[in-house]
């Protein structure tokens, strides 16, 4: 079946990307912040186009791409992230580089990459989509090219990215060798058809794939690039990295692991659980020692990845019902996490635009000079820590609850312990903002209206999900549904003992 309509939203995005690059190419004096707004509008169009796909019947494009609620969910998420990041960048990027059109164009392209990572049901497509996202990010991270840190971050990112995608590919090749196909459905059937016992090729292949996607979502020990890349990247890109890139990684993992590898879940679930445990512990412990905000957020998001990985392990341990519940909860958590992160970065960007400092002490006395930003930052951080009435509380609770199986209770316990540790370093930030007086000029200053509104809207979102998670949860449940109704498996798991 070739239904090209399913690509319409991305046509809009990619087309706009080209258009934006074209504008600056032919009209170099065009105001840079307007480019941002154009990007936001384009992404809004993309978002709106995505809305039409809600609830439509699943549609597969030649077995490569599936257009279903899962895809739509990530499409909306991607578009939303791009809107926010573009708006965030408007003032931030205006003075820092000569040209910004490519920046916004790549943002849109990266978003498309994310959507196809979620939509891909075939290894090659998934790989290319992943590289599309990665390539865009390599460039975006190094976009401040006169900045030493930015280019260093970019170099580390691309070399490690290439290294780990080689691993990823080797794993794919082994799976291909075993099953003779690269379609997820075919892989599942192929694995199921191989009878009892598991080949070493399958095990090692899965481990290599795990390393590849683990790198993408920055799971320890494949996380090392993240702090450096986060620190070197421009602030809005850091936001993008910690939201879109992670969400995309999980989208791919969900598709791949539920659609293809679920059959031999016994061979990878322990590894995912172990990775989850290591990741969250490492991320949170190291985060305590950070003084740079971006690095701190990087480690904190590594910790978050640890929590999210538990659900993947739960998919491996539980039956289809557990898997679906866990995935819905994971999607909900991703939504909450993304919104909170974006709120945090919107506020941080506003503060950074004013102070130019990205260490924690730079926020000193923010509650005096800009109480609204301090409030948004606090809310975002408390949401990460899982305190009510913010999104993190409800979503984390649902996610862990969804992931609780007899085998995984210890990881869940560890996760809760970790989110407690995380509270410590979040409080360190809150402390700077609220407990100390600002240095130097103590007058109030104004936030640019765009960032203000952005932060306000996101903050409301954080509160809404936290207080009334029902509607979003229902949506994410629908989004997770197709993973388990996928054709071929008919919702029944062919899992080996």
């Amino acid at each position: 079946m070739r239904d090209y309509t399913i690509f319409i939203p991305e046509y809009i995005a990619a087309g706009s990307a080209v258009g934006i690059i074209g504008i600056e190419l032919f009209w170099p004096k065009f105001r840079k912040d307007w480019l941002a707004y154009i990007t936001a509008v384009a992404a809004l169009g993309w978002f709106v186009a995505g809305l039409f796909f809600i609830g439509k019947d699943p549609n597969s494009f030649q077995g490569l791409i599936r257009s279903d609620d899962f895809t739509t969910y990530f499409r909306l998420l991607a578009a939303g992230i791009v809107i926010v990041v573009a708006l965030m960048s408007a003032t931030h990027m205006r003075t820092r580089t000569k040209t910004v059109a490519e920046y916004y164009g790549l943002l849109l392209v990266a978003g498309c990459g994310m959507v196809y990572m979620a939509a891909a049901t075939e290894l090659l497509t998934a790989y290319i989509a992943l590289e599309l996202l990665s390539f865009s990010l390599y460039i975006l991270v190094g976009y401040l090219k006169r900045d030493n840190l930015s280019s260093e971050a970019s170099l580390k990112y691309i070399l490690l990215g290439a290294f780990s995608s080689a691993m990823f590919l080797y794993g794919m090749s082994l799976i291909y060798g075993v099953t003779g196909t690269t379609y997820y459905e075919g892989i599942a059937e192929g694995l199921a058809a191989r009878g009892p016992g598991t080949d070493p090729a399958v095990i090692v292949g899965m481990m290599l794939i795990l390393a590849g996607v683990g790198f993408k979502v920055s799971a320890a020990p494949f996380h090392m690039w993240a702090p450096d890349a986060y620190q070197g990247a421009p602030l809005p890109i850091t936001a993008f990295l910690s939201t879109a890139s992670k969400a995309a990684g999980f989208a791919l993992i969900l598709r791949l692991f539920t659609g293809a590898l679920i059959v031999d879940a016994a061979e990878w679930r322990w590894a995912v659980a172990a990775l989850a445990a290591v990741t969250m512990t490492l991320g949170n412990l190291v985060a305590i020692q950070q003084s740079n905000l971006k690095r701190l957020v990087a480690y904190s998001s590594i910790g978050q990845v640890g929590y999210m990985l538990i659900t993947i392990a739960a998919i491996g341990y539980g039956d289809a019902k557990v898997g679906q519940d866990a995935s819905s909860a994971l999607l909900l958590h991703i939504a909450g996490y993304v919104i909170a992160t974006l709120a945090l970065f919107a506020a941080l960007t506003a503060a950074y635009n004013r102070t130019g400092r990205e260490d924690i002490a730079g926020l000193r006395g923010l509650a005096e000079t800009q109480p609204f930003l301090a409030l948004v930052i606090t809310i975002a951080l408390f949401s990460f820590a899982g305190l009510p009435p913010f999104a993190g509380f409800a979503t984390k609770l649902f996610m862990f609850q969804g992931a609780t199986t007899d085998e995984l209770l210890w990881v869940v316990g560890l996760a809760v312990l970790n989110s407690f540790i995380s509270l410590y370093y979040y409080l360190m930030i809150v402390r700077q903002m609220y407990l100390f007086d600002p240095i130097g000029d103590v007058g109030r200053w104004k936030v640019s209206p765009v960032l203000w509104c952005l932060a306000a809207v996101l903050m409301v979102g954080v509160l809404f999900i936290g207080v009334y998670p029902g509607p979003v949860f229902e949506l994410t449940e629908r989004a997770a549904q197709p993973l388990f109704d996928a054709a071929g498996l008919g919702g029944v798991q062919v899992q080996r003992p």
Partner: protein
């Protein structure tokens, strides 16, 4: 709308009014400090009124949960089945009393903060948020909302203490917050385990309690996870050896926060032990209660002993809180009706009297800016009313008949004696120590030669008299005529699983 439904809305309003107040305050200009105060005072009055109504309207007809209001929040989504999460509010005898406590203390605390001038808007926003959390926890019959409100009550503390506190406030605030949240880590784990084990797809507490009673939560499971719940809640209830946030936290906290925290918040811990421990895992409770008894006794004696030589008012109160909460835990650990009722009464009693103590400490500290006992002497000369108020609080603390402390401790002692006579004797001994440390403080501070350094001290302000008077009234009423209290609490306690006659 039937009458009972209407009452459910009263319960809802009790939670909603503080939240609304916080919301209104968010949009109040920060420099309108008087307006902020009036809003808070009115809120406090309304909340207190609603609380008193709830307490009074609780029917003594042998039924348990009353004034129910149930709104479906999330259901039939993912692992949540029918009634997955409901905003299920109701009142039982225990929470009716706790509501009364909260109302009185909250109102008194709001008035006590009248003097506060530094960013008082922010202060009250956090203050009312905290109280909404407290009420929510007391009224929630849904595990999700129970925990939601429980954490909501803990969350504002860091800022309340960190920004408006005094001695070593950063350390105290961080330690307090982290320890309390650390405790809730265990509760989280417990909640996950319970939901998973019960496999009912609902957070509805009554269904989960039924699961605990009928063995859906297996005995082994209950034995394993009971400590999670109890230690988790116990941190907030200053369960020894997880109590050290109490002295430091109270030392750092501003007056109203100390009042609410020691007065109400610590009770959430003990309340949690009832709700999540005794009611949810009766078998586990039976298995673990002797251990809790030992810890409670240690806490009671240890706190009283440590308070004996402290030099800071708030440290004395901090340690005495440890001691008194030790009684609460002992009462709960008896697992008989008298002891558990006594524990609940003690929760109330300790709440009001500690609030009064902290109110008085605040009234002095605001003027003197020191809390070292040795700096004072003969304060009765300049602040006679203060001395009387504090004296009443102190004597209630000591467990003097006529004050609530006696009523509560008496029931606890009786209950403990019934099951564990030796521990009962130890607890009574600790009560004698309470007399020692309280009177030591009285002797040093109130009496003796007057230190002229303090001749400028003013006696209580009218507002402090009002809030103190309310608290004293609460103390005395329960101390003199405790039937209304025991009737309500007893009605629920007799229905608790595993609690013997």
């Amino acid at each position: 709308m039937t009458f009972d439904e209407g009452q459910g809305y009263v319960v809802l309003a009790t939670i909603a009014v503080p939240l609304l107040a916080a919301l209104v305050l968010v949009f109040t200009p920060g420099h309108q400090k008087m307006l902020v105060r009036y809003i808070s005072a009115v809120t406090g009055a309304i909340v207190a009124g609603l609380s008193i109504y709830i307490f009074a309207a609780y029917q003594l007809d042998g039924s348990d949960a009353q004034m129910r209001l149930q709104w479906v929040w999330v259901e039939n989504t993912a692992f949540l089945g029918k009634d997955g999460i409901t905003l299920n509010l109701a009142v039982d005898g225990i929470s009716a009393l706790m509501a009364l406590l909260t109302g009185v203390v909250a109102f008194a605390g709001a008035l006590a903060s009248w003097k506060l001038d530094f960013r008082n808007k922010d202060f009250y926003i956090l203050y009312w948020t905290l109280l909404a959390g407290v009420y929510g926890t007391f009224f929630s019959y849904d595990l999700f909302f129970f925990f939601f409100f429980y954490e909501l009550a803990v969350m504002p503390l860091y800022l309340l203490i960190g920004v408006w506190g005094s001695t070593r406030k950063e350390y105290g605030a961080a330690k307090l917050t982290l320890m309390l949240v650390g405790g809730s880590v265990l509760i989280w784990i417990g909640i996950f385990a319970v939901f998973h084990e019960a496999n009912l797809g609902t957070f509805d507490m009554e269904q989960l309690w039924a699961a605990g009673r009928d063995g859906t939560l297996s005995p082994t499971f209950q034995k394993v996870f009971f400590p999670f719940m109890v230690v988790g809640c116990g941190v907030l209830a200053a369960l020894w050896p997880f109590h050290t946030w109490s002295p430091d936290g109270h030392m750092a906290a501003p007056t109203a926060v100390s009042m609410v925290h020691a007065g109400v918040l610590m009770k959430l811990g003990a309340f949690g032990i009832i709700r999540l421990g005794i009611q949810m895992m009766p078998v586990g409770a039976e298995f673990w209660m002797p251990t809790l008894m030992v810890l409670g006794v240690i806490g009671a004696v240890y706190g009283a002993t440590a308070a004996l030589t402290q030099r800071d008012f708030k440290l004395i109160s901090g340690y005495s809180s440890v001691s008194h909460m030790g009684y609460v835990l002992m009462g709960l650990a008896t697992m008989n009706q008298i002891g558990v009722t006594g524990a609940v009464l003690q929760m109330y009693s300790h709440g009001v009297m500690t609030a009064l103590v902290f109110l008085m400490i605040g009234a002095l500290y605001d003027q003197a800016h020191t809390r070292d006992l040795k700096d004072f002497g003969g304060i009765a000369k300049v602040m006679p009313l203060w001395v009387i108020f504090y004296g009443i609080a102190g004597l209630a603390n000591v467990g003097l008949p006529g004050f609530s402390g006696f009523t509560a401790e008496f029931h606890i002692f009786v209950g403990t004696f019934r099951s564990y006579p030796v521990f009962g004797a130890l607890a009574i001994f600790a009560a004698a120590l309470a007399a020692a440390y309280m009177l030591r403080m009285f002797a040093i501070v109130f009496f003796g030669p007057f230190n002229v350094r303090w001749s400028d001290l003013k006696d209580l302000t009218p507002l402090e008299r009002l809030s103190g008077g309310m608290l004293i009234a609460s103390i005395v009423i329960m101390g003199v005529w405790w039937a209304p209290f025991t009737d309500r609490v007893g009605q629920t306690v007799t229905l608790l699983p595993g609690v013997t006659g």
